[in-house]
Amino acid sequence: MKKVISIALAAVMCLVLFAGCASNTNTAASPSTAPSVAPTEETLSGTVSTNGSTSMEKVIAALSEAFMAKYPDVVVTYDATGSGAGITAATEGSADIGLASRDLKTEETGLDATVIAIDGIAIIVNKSNTVADLTLEQIASLAKGEVTNWKEVGGADAPVVFIGREAGSGTRDGFEAIVDVKDACKYEQELTSTGAVIAAVAANANAIGYASLSAVNDTVTAIKVNGVACTEATVLDGSYKIQRDFNMITKQGAELSSAAKAFMEFALSDEAASIIEKAGAIPPK
């Protein structure tokens, strides 16, 4: 019986490993049978590791799926750790491409930022909230904790629950810079991703938060800012003020693998533009 168990376990393990090796030999065989001189699309292989902004999740997921459909031998991975982490990863070389939903700061040297999309930061409230429009000043006072009850801005008599992001977030950085509340925000909760903020606002009738437009779904309401609704069009023409760039961050002077280079070029190409729009962001002009 012991022998049977150990043989069975060994067989399962071998199956797993051989399944892996088998697929490797299959894909390794095909390039050699293709008669070509110049590197064709089929020979691009390897891994591209991206790491960073949680707001860019949808855009990167869409882009990488389309890219991997084009080049089946390439694996593009994405770790949602936050813009700050993405920049750190690019600096330390722990990822091929860092993702940041903000521009580089002056102290972040040695890095190149390539804009692949523009995104709006939607101010979201719970679906049951009657407030539909706020000025930038009102939003600032809500964020700073100066206004603590919804009735002061035209809503119901209920406490304000302001939900924000963690300190390294590009979304938070963009929000605080444009609304001018840097280092002065009093958050009720500090969550670590755009999706978490949306979920928290959807769950609490008195909540208000900020999240990437590309991630906003119909579980929350995106209110107007200074009378301007947050849509792709208003972000593109600049009338919606709270917006920021989606950047791919690479280390200056570091040699990118051909797969990573191809991925970056793909993100900036015309066929990527429709994919980016589908994901909810705006391709750069």
């Binding site: 891994t47 799926e65 330390e92 070389g93 722990s94 999706g195």
Partner: protein, 294 residues
């Protein structure tokens, strides 16, 4: 006849104060048991109730596709398997070897006690600290980046102390007379260990291994920061080692916290619970079977 007094009449012979003590504590016990049982049934039931409807064959065997709005966790099941296999393949030999060294070969008692104390302490360290150290050492310093290999190595350091401990305990239960008998018959040390001591301890080693598997399946904090949360299918084991891959527990956290997809989270939770059930049952079965043979 006079000795067979039923319990009830005994109670009538004790003071009111003691009766009060008796009934109130009995009530507390039943209340606690009730709360615990309710929690048990409630938790298990709720997770299955919200999760099982979303567990379909497609869910289990395909990969997530955002462009087509489809969810699949097959890559993550594979990544969990890869992580378990890699971590065990490295940790078991080293751990068992170290335990054998500590129990059979080491001469200085001080060294042995020092290691025992360290392994004891290390089993209690929170996994987030292992994640921190693993991220710094394996991902950044050794340049492994976010990969299954880095995650597995971090797990090796996490489970090594408990494997050493359980193997050592098992070795200690083998009677010294076995070893003495073997030596008296002229067997060399390694020969005696291989043929007599190890077969006796195999049940302890297996249960230690299964315990480790359980711990790996449940691990999220350490793996999130060292192995990442990738969801792209990579079937080649060697390639997968260098890719960022999320195990099931990590993906539960990511899908819930980052995407707000609670249904997916509950589905993964249901699968995890079934997995834990299988692990627990196999641990019991293995222990029973091997003890009979050992």
């Amino acid at each position: 006849m006079r000795n067979k007094r039923p319990a009830q009449s005994l109670n009538s012979r004790i003071s009111a104060k003691r009766r009060l003590y008796d009934t109130s504590l009995k009530a507390l016990i039943y209340i606690s048991a009730g709360i615990t049982l309710l929690l048990l049934i409630g938790l298990i039931g709720y997770i299955f109730y919200r999760g099982l409807p979303h567990v379909s064959w497609e869910f289990l065997t395909t990969q997530r596709k955002v462009l087509e709005d489809k969810i699949g966790i097959f890559p993550n099941i594979l990544f969990t398997l890869y992580t378990i296999v890699t971590a065990l393949v490295i940790a078991l030999p080293i751990g068992i070897g170290a335990a054998i060294y500590l129990n059979e070969y080491a001469k200085q008692k001080g060294l042995v006690r020092f290691i025992e104390f360290s392994t004891e302490t290390l089993t209690g360290i929170p996994s987030i600290i292992y994640g921190l150290v693993g991220m710094l050492f394996f991902c950044q310093k050794l340049g492994l980046k976010s990969s299954i290999l880095a995650g597995s190595l971090t797990l090796v350091i996490m489970i090594l102390p408990s494997i050493i401990r359980t193997t050592q305990e098992s070795l200690k239960t083998t009677p010294q007379s076995y070893r003495d008998g073997a030596a008296a018959l002229g067997a060399t040390k390694w020969y005696a260990i291989r043929t007599i001591v190890l077969p006796c301890t195999i049940d302890g080693i297996v249960s230690g291994g299964i315990l480790a598997v359980g711990r790996i399946v449940g691990e999220s904090a350490a793996l999130l920061f060292t192995a990442g949360a990738g969801y792209v299918l990579v079937t080649n084991y060697i390639k997968a080692l260098s890719v960022s891959g999320g195990t099931l527990s990590v993906m539960l956290y990511v899908y819930v916290m980052e995407n707000g997809q609670f249904d997916v989270g509950f589905a993964i939770a249901s699968i995890l619970m079934i997995l834990v059930l299988i692990i627990n049952i196999s641990a019991k079965v293995a222990k029973k079977r091997l003890k009979r043979l050992g």
